[in-house]
């Protein structure tokens, strides 16, 4: 299967402190890849490298190369704005805009000019909500404030908002960490459904979640990539002792 992301010797440091060292990783297209590891191991930092969200952070410097479809996303001719339209992101804490549900979903298509008419925009919003499995819950109140929804619904609004721009990749940074098991199950189901058309990379603290949803898993520890393999392999026969220790709960 084709490779979507290819990273070579990626190193990120904040001021003088190295957050991740020498990460080389190939991420397959239209697959769910999970990044696991204890807190502070650099998995979120790595994730944010993939759509240049680290650019926003002061004193953050990146070495090595990140190739999206074999093109260096840190190259001089790449516009981070365009890149982020191709590589969407869902954050740890649901962060809908304090606007109506409709405006939340429509914001991305509007700024990128994806819809040429109001009807087209309505279709995009409708389809995105449908893909995110939210349409039945919110179709009668598209003009209500998105911030008035429940936590799980807000997070799915954020996923729908990311889908609305029709990205190729969706990065998820612990999307379920603040949700209850039912909302989590819904989001996992949703991820499974959309993984056929999108490449999904998810950072998670829950090993069960990684085991449930992902095809491939990468284990990070103290800024190093310790092991990267098929999820089944990682959770049944890890090659590295640290991975073994982590998945069996001996540390982390």
């Amino acid at each position: 299967m084709a490779i979507k992301f290819r990273t070579k010797n990626v190193e990120v440091s904040y001021s003088d402190k190295k957050a991740i060292k020498d990460i080389s990783l190939n991420i397959k297209k239209n697959t769910i890849t999970a990044l696991i590891g204890p807190s502070g191991c650099g998995k979120s930092t790595f994730l944010r490298c993939l759509n240049r969200m680290n650019d926003v952070i002061e004193n953050c410097s990146i070495k090595g190369s990140v190739l999206l479809d074999e093109q260096d996303i840190y190259g001089p001719d790449v516009d981070p704005v365009e890149l982020r339209a191709r590589v969407g992101m869902v954050f740890q804490k649901a962060n809908p805009f304090p606007k109506s549900i409709f405006d939340n979903i429509a914001y991305g298509p509007r700024i990128h000019g994806l819809a040429s008419s109001d009807n087209e925009l309505k279709d995009i919003v409708h389809n995105s909500l449908e893909k995110a499995g939210l349409i039945d819950e919110v179709k009668d109140r598209l003009n209500d404030q998105a911030t008035g929804l429940s936590g799980g619904q807000q997070q799915r609004i954020c996923i729908a908002r990311a889908i609305a721009v029709s990205p190729e990749v969706i990065l998820m940074d612990e999307p379920c960490s603040a949700l209850d098991p039912i909302a989590t199950a819904k989001i996992e189901e949703l991820m499974n459904e959309i993984s056929e058309t999108y490449t999904i990379i998810i950072v998670t603290h829950s090993m069960q979640q990684a085991a449930r949803v992902s095809k491939k898993t990468a284990f990070f520890h103290l800024g190093d990539l310790i092991e990267y393999n098929d999820t089944d392999k990682i959770f049944t026969q890890p090659e590295n002792e640290k991975t073994q220790d982590y998945i069996t709960g001996r540390f982390g």
């Binding site: 759509n51 969200m53 926003v56 002061e58 004193n59 704005v81 365009e82 890149l83 982020r84 339209a85 969407g88 992101m89 869902v90 954050f91 804490k93 962060n95 809908p96 805009f97 304090p98 914001y107 991305g108 700024i111 990128h112 404030q145 911030t147 954020c158 908002r161 990311a162 721009v165």
Partner: protein
């Protein structure tokens, strides 16, 4: 042991509460004293002594060929004489020159001018007319009627002599003179004669100035704070800019006046005494205040909102304009109105650019000569006439009311725009 400790802790808490309440009470009492004393001094300026005269005037003299009143011809006419002869009809016994002079001193020196304006406003057709008009008494007669001039001191030290007092009293007895609502105070600009001096000129001047201030300072401040918060790379230059903005907020306001004088007047050649220049100077003065408030407000917006926008592919500017700024608007607005209130009460910088001046016309454009409310108060309080004293007190109350309503507006707007999460 613990119980004893708790008792002393409770006592300490009670003491602190008492200190707090008493300091608030002290502040409130001080404020009340201030307002009451100004109010007691100023309320009488709401009224003004008027006298009524019947005047017959033949407009044929100043009507031009097209039956319109001709300003030039009207200006040449002796209106003072008309009023004076009408006044003399009440006191036929006054014959001598000196005595006549004393008699005419109890009516306003502007009475003739006021009469002309009344005739002009009525737009009388050509022909003979008899008008019954109320004109101002002089400020001394006015102060005497309000009981603000003490008549116990010897006659030669008084601004109004016994004869004049008798005339005024006689007018009052005949119901020809009385205190009426002081309309001139609210409808005219400054004047040498207290009875014709009003606050409208300076209110309009202040409003024009503040308009320029807000139009100049607000966009600059918003752009500067967005730049500093989101675009500036941390480093020496940014630090330098930041330190200097904080310094500017503490620079004495007269320095901004000097800057206005040398830059706006000398270099750019803008007109003196103009609200345009005053607004620019006050805008520079309030800029740091608004920048500091705006930055605090922008910083208080959760970064997750901005990240969400950036994550969708919004540019930095779009993230700031579409999401951060609307949410930060209430805070920016509050900062702006506080800055405006500060600018409204400022006199010193205006001194340098010629807005501390005696201006008798109500300003109509941003470049016409104007003065501001605090300047007007300062100039009146400096005048010798007793009647200006009560007028400056009333003007202070007016200024305070203006400030309170501005702050009220800030609160209302903030409540209205504040988004609920």
């Amino acid at each position: 042991m613990i119980r004893k400790n708790i008792r002393s802790r409770r006592a300490r808490e009670t003491r602190l509460k008492i200190y707090g309440i008493s300091s608030i009470c002290f502040a409130l009492i001080m404020l009340a004293t201030l307002l009451i004393s100004i109010g007691l001094n100023g309320y009488s300026a709401l009224q003004q002594a008027y006298f009524k005269v019947d005047i017959s005037v033949n407009t044929e003299k100043f009507v031009d060929e097209r039956d319109f009143l001709n300003n030039k011809k009207m200006n040449l006419f002796n209106w003072d004489g008309l009023v004076q002869s009408a006044l003399r009809e009440f006191f036929p016994e006054v014959k001598e020159r000196d005595e006549k002079k004393e008699l005419f001193a109890i009516i306003s020196a502007n009475a003739g001018y006021d009469l002309k304006e009344i005739v002009k406003k009525k737009a009388l057709g050509s022909g003979s007319h008899t008008l019954s008009v109320w004109l101002h008494l002089s400020d001394d007669a006015d102060q005497y009627l309000k009981g603000r001039l003490s008549i116990d001191i010897p006659e030669e030290d008084r601004r109004i002599n016994n004869k004049q007092i008798a005339w005024v009293n006689s007018l009052v007895e005949r119901d020809i003179a009385k205190l009426k609502f002081n309309k001139a105070f609210f409808t005219s600009a400054d004047s040498r004669e207290p009875e014709s001096a009003g606050i409208l000129g300076s209110v309009v001047g202040s409003a024009l100035t503040l308009f320029v201030t807000v139009m100049f300072a607000l966009p600059l401040a918003i752009m500067a704070s967005i730049y500093l918060e989101y675009f500036a790379k941390p480093g020496r230059i940014t630090d330098f800019i930041e330190v200097n903005i904080n310094n500017l907020a503490a620079v004495p306001s007269i320095v901004f006046g000097l800057l206005g004088l040398s830059v706006f007047l000398s270099t750019f050649g803008l007109p003196r005494s103009a609200p345009l220049v005053g607004g620019l100077v006050l805008g520079l003065m309030t800029l740091p205040t608004i920048i500091i408030a705006s930055r605090a407000s922008i910083r208080s917006i959760p970064p997750s909102i901005r990240e969400a926008a950036l994550g969708l592919g919004a540019s930095k500017m779009q993230a700031a304009m579409h999401h951060v700024l609307p949410l930060a608007a209430p805070g920016i607005l509050t900062g702006t109105i506080i800055g405006m209130a500060q600018a409204l009460g400022e006199t010193a910088p205006l001194l340098m650019i010629g807005m501390v001046a005696f201006i008798i016309d109500i300003p109509t454009t941003f470049t016409s000569s104007a003065t501001a409310m605090p300047v007007q108060i300062y100039m009146w309080s400096d005048s010798a006439e007793r009647a200006f004293y009560e007028r400056s007190s009333l003007a202070i109350l007016f200024l305070v009311a203006f400030l309170i309503s501005m702050n009220l507006l800030a609160v209302i707007l903030r409540k209205k725009f504040e988004k609920k999460w």
